[in-house]
Amino acid sequence: MARIKLDGVKHSYAADPKSPADWALKEVNLDCQDGGAYALLGPSGCGKTTLLNLISGLLTPTRGRILFDDRDVSHATPEDRNIAQVFQFPVIYDTMTVYDNLAFPLRNRRLPAPEIDRRVRDIADMLDLGPSLMNRASGLTADGKQKISLGRGLVRSDVNVIMFDEPLTVIDPHLKWVLRSKLKELHHRVKRTMIYVTHDQTEALTFADQVVVMNNGEVVQIGTPIELFDRPEHTFVGHFIGSPGMNVLPVTKENGGISFLGTPVESIENVRAEALNGGRLEIGVRPEFVSFGTTGIPVEIGKVADAGRFRIVEARHKGQLLKVLVTEGDAIPSVTSHVRFDPTHTHLYSDGWLVK
């Protein structure tokens, strides 16, 4: 159990990094509380797996320090850091039984046999692996195998952190949900620090207390799922999280206020607008907070997509697309209408970053 702190960590796969493009991970500062559930969320190639491997010790940071409870472990081996990791493709020891697989990390650490037996049975119960404990592990399905890899981490009582590298990739869709809730339940039971890497926002938002959103080797925002939804600090977070993502609309400063292609936007107070000096301006508003009305920004109505309890309407203002979420059963105006933005959920961005 440990608090994990990343202090100015940078990593490059090139031997001699020069240009910014050489860095797979640009300066990351992160503080993970003991016992928390964290998710690293970002598109493929954003550096999240690199960050995970740095924490687990499979990679050594090019710059910066990694601290476990104030102990510098930047150059320590994974074994020394005492971490556990569940990989994208389930890793099991084919020739062993499920029981031996779970006991393997403990046997390597030379624990007494009765102690091993007790823990293995405990964990097997927790993961519902009890009935197949004596079967050969190679005969299990993908989700069973992934449970074993997880079990090998849980079975050690002194693990500092358990890390998951997109663990549900190879699991059937209907079992993904089951395994995801199992993970959440396990976290509540064992109270270990868990770090979960994924590009799937549903997985990240349901699992984690704190989500670390990454893009292009940088941490863009760290926050609770609610914060990420309500106050994205960057337009990237806005459209990466949420389905459909946030409407990001180019705006300009005109007459002391904000105007969207010539139409004044009243949802942004002039105070916020005045504080600005230069920069590319955008406003962000989630489709959930756009509503049709008789006044406001004039739009033409385009395609309507049915998404179960909602319908997603594609509206256009002078050619600029903006999506509107309409609750099922509510009327959708035809041909033309006006839209209004909810002032508390409309944010102003300068060069991509939130203006506070």
């Binding site: 994974p78 556990a84 393997f104 090998r152």
Partner: protein, 287 residues
């Protein structure tokens, strides 16, 4: 709806049928033909029944050759398989040296068999060969043309030199196909190098090792050219393996009947061993 029957498709497999007929079926049937007849000059054949088979199976000469053959195959398998595995494990996985190692490993496999025999013949000559003269000047009494033991030593050494590479390349291919995550997981689980070999590498190599053993078994059981050039089966009959003996009977003595019978028995032995071995390995797999 009824399927349309179109027998014309058979013509499409005709080229393969002809090819297989001429390179396998017809030669094999000729051998079968010889094995049940007595052959005289001017292409006169008389029926002999199973006489040749009985003669071959009861001849001490055949028993000795078979025993020598099994001993030889046993020895080279016991050396080449572990040695090949060890070399493959020691080879680098990435970087410049990978291609260097692979080329060096592939070289012996690219040399024609009779050239291998000729090379070792000269290399091991006690008066002028590097190996032969070297061993003698180190104080060993080494003369593979006269002593059965050193003849065996040279033959085994030659085969190990020629074929261990095949085992190495197969094992290496198997090793590099193991995903990195397995090694990472093992590191995290605190596994020792031995445990990594025993529980990850060996199980993942099982299939390629099966193939390697099978190939080396079949090839070494049929070894002919290299031994023919190196020792000619001597000194005496010390290195007269089955194929050399067959050659002596068929082309030395022109006893086509017994040679045909021996060929078929020889073929069946290889088939039986291979089938037995493969079935056992695969049954293990299924469990």
């Amino acid at each position: 709806m009824n399927k349309q029957v179109n027998q014309k498709a058979w013509f499409l497999v005709l080229p393969v049928v002809i090819l297989v007929a001429f390179n396998a079926v017809i030669p094999l049937m000729t051998v079968v033909n010889y094995s049940v007849q007595e052959t005289f000059g001017d292409n006169v054949f008389t029926w002999a029944g199973v006489q040749w088979f009985e003669q071959v199976l009861n001849s001490p000469r055949f028993h000795d050759a078979l025993l020598r053959q099994m001993l030889f195959t046993g020895i080279i398998l016991a050396i080449e398989i572990p040695l090949g595995l060890i070399i493959a494990l020691a080879m680098p996985r990435k970087g410049f040296w990978v291609s260097v190692c692979l080329v060096l490993m592939a070289l012996p496999l690219l040399i024609p068999w009779n050239v291998v025999g000729a090379m070792w013949n000269i290399f091991a000559l006690p008066e002028i060969g590097l190996l032969g003269k070297g061993l003698n000047s180190l104080g060993f009494d080494y003369n593979y043309t006269r002593q059965p033991l050193t003849a065996w030593f040279t033959t085994v050494l030659m085969d190990v030199w020629h074929w261990t590479s095949l085992v190495v390349l197969l094992c290496y291919a198997g090793l590099v196909s193991i995903p990195d995550d397995y090694y990472r997981a093992a590191k995290i689980d605190g596994a020792s190098a031995w445990a990594v070999f025993r529980f990850i590498q060996l199980p993942k190599l099982k299939r390629v090792l099966t193939i390697a053993i099978l190939l080396r078994f079949m090839d070494s059981f049929m070894i002919y050219t290299e031994v023919k050039v190196l020792t000619g089966g001597g000194p005496g009959n010390a290195t007269t393996f089955l194929s050399i003996d067959l050659d002596k009977i068929a082309l030395g003595q022109f006893d086509l009947g017994p040679a045909g019978a021996m060929s078929l028995i020889y073929f069946l032995i290889i088939l039986l061993f291979s089938w037995l071995f493969y079935t056992l390995m695969m049954r293990n797999e299924a469990q």
